[in-house]
């Protein structure tokens, strides 16, 4: 018999681990991934596979050869980054562009700061924005490839938000919201089905992986901000429902803004962070040069997280 163990209390531990949390996030993303693969076909599958594989490979290589630190790929955080990066890219993105995005996300944004838990910016979003600035043509090419179910001839489409940015409210008039809820053809994997994403969100809530406050405050801010503008001038500004259901709002709010590392710890801090994201998003959509601003909004608010963590603290016992 080996020696008995001795340690300070507590002597038991909850079953939740970093790996199990990351696994839950991947599971929650599965419905949306499935829908996007069904509708975008092999090319989408390739993007996802390349993204995940390169994220994991880069993390392994950098930790082993450059940082000489213990390997961290088993915590699955690189997989989550890979999946999220893929969901932010068009299905037609060439594999080498995806690889460069992964290299930037993992190699620069995550590991140069010390790895999981140390990064200031969300790696997947930073990777996506890096690609958007470096390779704008690939990143805004919304050619719809052949999928497994929805077989169309390859058409060069553009996203609803893209159409609005170019042609104003008339260009998106008559959008069927029910359809955008289920299936929103045109856009990246993360934009294709609001319902699939919300299903994943519900899973995360049930599993208590995330708390709902950040996504809810983003949704509410988007709704209220666009509502005010819509009421002022419905001929220039899109309506609140349109803004909630299109683009990366749901993916961003539920899966990217809730990233533990780059979001505030306290509920109040989280709400302010969410309001900031929602507001910046709507400003970019209405007044910015880019049709969609979720990535930028999250990156900008990421910068304020240390400050929010410093300002807002847990309410302590006995201080009532």
């Amino acid at each position: 018999m080996s020696n008995i163990l001795v340690s300070p209390s507590p002597h038991i531990h909850s079953a939740v681990s970093t790996t199990s949390l990351m696994r839950d996030v991947v599971i929650a993303l599965c419905p949306a991934l499935l829908v996007s693969i069904l509708f975008y076909g092999w090319s989408e599958l390739l993007v996802i596979a390349v993204s995940v594989a390169s994220c994991v490979l880069i993390e392994w290589a950098v930790t082993k050869f450059l940082m000489k630190a213990p390997c961290t790929i088993s915590d699955l955080s690189a997989v989550v980054t890979g999946v999220l990066l893929a969901m932010n890219l068009p299905a037609t993105t060439p594999w080498w562009v995806v690889f460069i995005g992964a290299l930037f996300a993992i190699g620069v944004v995550k590991l140069t700061f010390g790895g999981l838990g140390q990064n200031i910016f969300n790696p997947a979003i930073a990777g996506r924005v890096f690609l958007l600035i470096s390779f704008p043509t690939y990143l805004t090419d919304w050619t719809i490839p052949n999928g497994f179910i929805h077989s169309t001839d390859a058409v060069s489409g553009s996203t609803l938000l893209g159409r609005y940015a170019e042609g104003g409210v008339e260009a998106v008039a008559g959008t069927d919201y029910l359809q955008t809820l289920f299936l929103n053809i045109g856009g990246s994997a993360g934009e294709i089905s609001a319902l699939a994403l919300l299903l994943g969100f519900a899973y995360l809530l049930v599993r208590k992986v995330i708390k709902p406050w950040i996504p809810l405050s983003i949704f509410l801010t988007v709704f209220v901000t666009s509502g005010i503008f819509y009421l002022i001038d419905p001929s220039t500004y899109t309506d609140p429902l349109f803004n909630l259901l299109t683009g990366g709002v749901i993916l961003g709010a539920c899966f990217m803004a809730t990233d533990y590392v780059t979001s505030p710890m306290t509920t109040l801090g989280g709400v302010i962070y969410g309001v900031g994201i929602g507001f910046i998003l709507m400003m970019i959509r209405y007044f910015g040069a880019y049709p969609e601003g979720m990535s930028f909004a999250i990156l900008i608010m990421n910068m304020f997280v240390p400050l929010l963590n410093r300002w807002f603290h847990q309410s302590k016992y006995g201080r009532k």
């Binding site: 080996s2 020696n3 008995i4 163990l5 001795v6 340690s7 300070p8």
Partner: protein, 320 residues
């Protein structure tokens, strides 16, 4: 075109001048009057900011040294006498030379000597472990092996020997700053004079802190000091005392003859920097130290490593 260039240059120049004025004003306004000698003293300090002197860092040391009426309370263990001479020269104070010291680990409870009776499974910190219980061996006085001293050393002079589980001091790097002494919850590490005189490096010390009675101590660790007092009897210089079943060698009195090393039945006494020569009792009464020294020298040159000797020592113990 020319116009643009002229304007650009003009505006930039103006801006430069304006900002320079602002900077100048700010620098004047917020200037802190300081004794210039503080800077001078800080310049001759080692700059490690180790805190070994008892001040927060080299700057704090310099400030205190300038303010103090003499250098009695200021001694930089890292820079040693050379640095202190420089500091004294700047400040015009007297300084008394101190003998160079080195950190000595007074525990020989290696895995082989001191069997583990339970497995510690808490945070890897001696402080935590010491607060929890008496340790994973039967010796409640010995090294806990979590490496708080290694973490405390700013000079990389300490490392844990994976085989023995004990910290090892790299004497070429040790500056005797005392950080490790403070970090050790068991008080095992002591700063001792690096040699009997500043020139040589001979050292003899008791590598044990066990205050239990002989039998108990021996049961816990093969290499424990059992307080038998043989070393006290053999010491001609009155350097050794036994208190609470534990022998201690006063390094200011010890002449490093090494006789106690041979006398110790458990190998608790260690020698460093030389190989002692056993002096046969009686016949050659009072052998001239001068005669013994040359004989010892070639041996010392051949095997100057204290480790090799302690291995021999262990063998003797095993046979005994």
């Amino acid at each position: 075109m020319t116009n643009t260039i002229i304007w650009t240059i003009a505006i930039l120049t103006l801006l430069g001048v304006l900002l320079a004025l602002v900077l100048f004003w700010v620098a004047r306004k917020f200037r802190v009057e300081e004794d210039p000698r503080i800077d001078e003293v800080e310049k001759v300090m080692p700059g490690a900011n180790c805190g070994g002197c008892g001040f927060a860092g080299c700057r704090a040391f310099a400030e205190a040294a300038v303010k103090a009426p003499n250098l009695d309370n200021n001694f930089c263990p890292v820079g040693g006498n050379d640095t202190m001479a420089k500091v004294a020269a700047i400040l015009g104070y007297e300084v008394s030379a101190k003998a160079p010291q080195v950190a000595v680990v007074r525990c020989n409870g290696s895995c082989a000597n001191r069997p583990r009776v339970n497995d510690y499974d808490g945070a890897p910190s001696c402080k935590v472990k010491a607060a929890l219980y008496s340790g994973d061996t039967l010796c409640p006085y010995g090294c806990l092996g979590c490496g708080d001293c290694v973490a405390a050393c700013k000079f990389g002079a300490l490392s844990l020997d994976p085989e023995s589980g004990l910290p090892v001091v790299d004497e070429s790097k040790c500056t005797a700053c005392g950080s490790c002494v403070k970090s050790c919850p068991k008080g095992i590490i002591e700063l001792r004079n690096a040699g009997t005189t500043p020139k040589n490096t001979r050292r003899v010390y008791v590598s044990c802190m066990n205050k239990d009675k002989g039998g108990v101590a021996r049961k816990a660790c093969k290499a424990a000091c059992i307080g038998c007092g043989k070393c006290v009897k053999v010491c001609k210089f009155g350097a050794i005392t036994v208190e609470n079943n534990l022998s201690y060698i006063d390094y200011t009195k010890c002449k490093a003859c090494g006789q106690c090393y041979f006398e110790c039945p458990t190998g608790a006494i260690h020698v460093a920097g030389f190989t002692p020569k056993k002096v046969e009792p009686k016949p050659a009464a009072a052998p001239a130290p001068a005669a013994a020294a040359p004989a010892a020298k070639p041996v010392a040159a051949a095997a100057p490593e204290p480790k090799a000797m302690s291995n021999n020592q262990n063998k003797e113990v095993g046979n005994a």
